[in-house]
């Protein structure tokens, strides 16, 4: 199994840390991972993206241009990454702020209204975990048990009380994903 994922949105949405939780969860499942961020000036407020590769075997190139999954959280990223999804792949996006919705018919398309989910959980900071939950519903590449372990590795001990909140957001995101296009 090899899953090549791009996660893209605004700086501050938790794009990089979502990728980190996913990557750490995969390590807990004894998989190989690479996590490659865009680390330019965009880190200071513009667009941010990270490509995460999960694999059962050693990963050669950490640089890929076509993805099995694109997780898209703003319009700029939609314009840039919709075309990079492999035929038969998955595009998961948050519709808030999207003015041009994805048009491709050869890929699976799903929506998650993660702002709503985060609000229902009661903390806007877990926005990214709601998105992660939605992704894992459609592609359960790592078990929820390992996601919990990965989460514990990513959250510093002094914030351990936030683990359950993040877990709740993952579960709610899991239940709130909407399939728009099946192939």
């Amino acid at each position: 199994m090899k899953e090549e994922i791009i996660i893209a949105g605004f700086g501050g949405q938790g794009v990089l840390s979502m990728g980190k939780v996913l990557a750490y969860s995969a390590i807990m499942q004894d998989m190989e991972v690479t996590w490659m961020p865009s680390y330019g000036p965009e880190m200071r407020g513009g667009t941010a993206n990270v490509s995460v590769i999960l694999s059962d075997s050693k990963i050669g190139s950490p640089i890929v241009t076509r993805y099995d999954t694109a997780i898209i959280l703003n319009q700029q990223s939609m314009d840039k990454f919709e075309k990079t999804v492999k035929p038969g792949g998955l595009l998961l996006y948050d519709p808030s702020g999207i003015t041009r919705h994805p048009e491709r018919k050869d890929i699976r398309i799903a929506q998650i209204n993660a702002i709503e989910v985060a609000a229902s959980v009661g903390n806007s900071k877990v926005y990214n975990m709601a998105v992660l939950g939605a992704f894992l519903k459609i592609k359960p590449v790592v078990s929820m048990d390992n996601v919990r372990k990965g989460l514990a590795k990513c959250i510093p001990a002094r914030y351990s009380d936030l683990i359950s909140l993040n877990e709740k957001a993952i579960n709610e995101g899991h239940d709130s994903v909407l399939i728009i296009n099946e192939i």
């Binding site: 190989e32 690479t34 996590w35 680390y39 050669g60 190139s61 640089i63 890929v64 241009t65």
Partner: protein, 360 residues
């Protein structure tokens, strides 16, 4: 089972320094390697192993602090990125001239000048062919993963002390910024004063009665003495070239076409090789792990076996000169590269390969 941690290559350098008994780190922040010092400051090793971590006022200052630490037989290191390493070159040359061990990490970015902060391999010539003025070599090792970043710190110090020579870990923005799984080996304590005397009997640690003074200097005003010293260095380099060459190969046994690439480029190239194999073309890859000493011998052997060689680099073509030298005219040698912080994809490499070899 050893603990497996998800970390950036830069973080791996820092964690490895602490766990491998490094005595001191002196540096100055610059993207894309600032996480090295950030991690050290966060980990506060001065409270655990006693390792010193200091942000100097400039790169020139950091390299000279290392000169001082190394003179005392300590395991000391610094890290920077291309423009900062330029500033360090004078100090590196002085350390080569004074035969001082140290580890310098260069996480390369696009240049020349301040250039970009994105990944590049544009310091190959500067570090492998020079790294300062005068007649000397740095030992240069090129990591291709976060695990390599972790492992090469210890290996670097081993080489640095074995040969009393600066070692440069020549990395890049991809390897520095990318997170991967890193397996931590059992930690080693810092050397005790007695162990330093044993590992570095040349060090200035206070002169006991009964032995002559140890003098650390790169200055000699007598040409005859300097020449004898230069020839001593030559013997040392010959030994390094005979004993320390390291490379890895991917599908070279039956290869009809060869790629040569180091660092992050070797990873991307490996994917290109696999893609070509799927379409029935017998491609293979040699990754030099040591850039000095360089695997001239093995590339020369393979040049007699394959139809062509391509050097794949994130620069305008620097290592390709060494590949040509190694091939010795036995087969055509080509080059493909991207510059300025842009990165090639495996597909791009395959396309360049087909063009160079006139294959459809």
């Amino acid at each position: 089972m050893a603990e497996k941690i998800l970390m950036k290559g830069n973080e791996a350098i820092a964690i490895s320094a602490i766990r491998n008994g490094v005595d001191g780190y002196f540096g100055y922040p610059i993207t894309p390697q600032s996480e090295v010092m950030e991690t050290l400051m966060k980990e506060k090793p001065w409270e655990t192993t006693g390792m010193v971590v200091l942000q100097a006022e400039s790169e020139t200052s950091s390299i000279n602090m290392i000169y001082g630490g190394a003179s005392c037989g300590k395991k000391v290191m610094t890290s920077s990125s291309s423009p900062g390493v330029s500033l360090m070159c004078e100090g590196i040359s002085y350390m080569a001239g004074a035969e001082l061990p140290c580890v310098v990490v260069d996480v390369m970015r696009g240049g020349p000048g301040l250039g970009t902060i994105q990944p590049s391999q544009s310091d190959y010539d500067m570090i492998v062919k020079g790294g300062g003025h005068g007649d000397f070599h740095n030992i240069v090792i090129a990591p291709a993963s976060a695990q390599d970043m972790y492992d090469f710190v210890d290996w670097g110090f081993e080489l640095a002390f074995r040969y009393r020579n600066p070692v440069v870990i020549l990395s890049d923005g991809i390897i520095g910024q990318m997170m991967e799984k890193v397996e931590l080996h059992p930690a080693k304590p810092r050397r005790t004063a007695e162990e330093i005397l044993e590992a570095a009997p040349w060090a200035v640690t206070g002169k006991p009665a009964g032995r002559p003074r140890n003098i650390i200097t790169s200055l000699s005003l007598d040409s005859d003495i300097q020449e004898v010293f230069n020839q001593k260095l030559a013997r040392k380099y010959a030994e390094i070239e005979a004993r320390e060459v390291k490379y890895t190969e991917h599908l070279t046994d039956d290869a009809e076409y060869l790629f040569v690439a180091f660092g992050c480029s070797s990873r991307i190239c490996e994917a290109a090789v696999d893609e070509l194999r799927q379409s029935g073309i017998k491609a293979g890859l040699l990754r030099p792990v040591t850039l000095y000493p360089y695997p001239f011998g093995r590339i020369g052997e393979l040049a007699g076996q394959v139809k062509s060689i391509m050097s794949i680099e994130l620069n305008l073509g620097q290592m390709v000169t060494d590949v040509r030298l190694a091939a010795g005219g036995k087969c055509p040698v080509g080059f493909y590269g991207r510059q300025g912080g842009n990165i090639f994809t495996p597909e791009e490499i395959v396309e360049a390969f087909r063009k160079f070899n006139n294959l459809k």
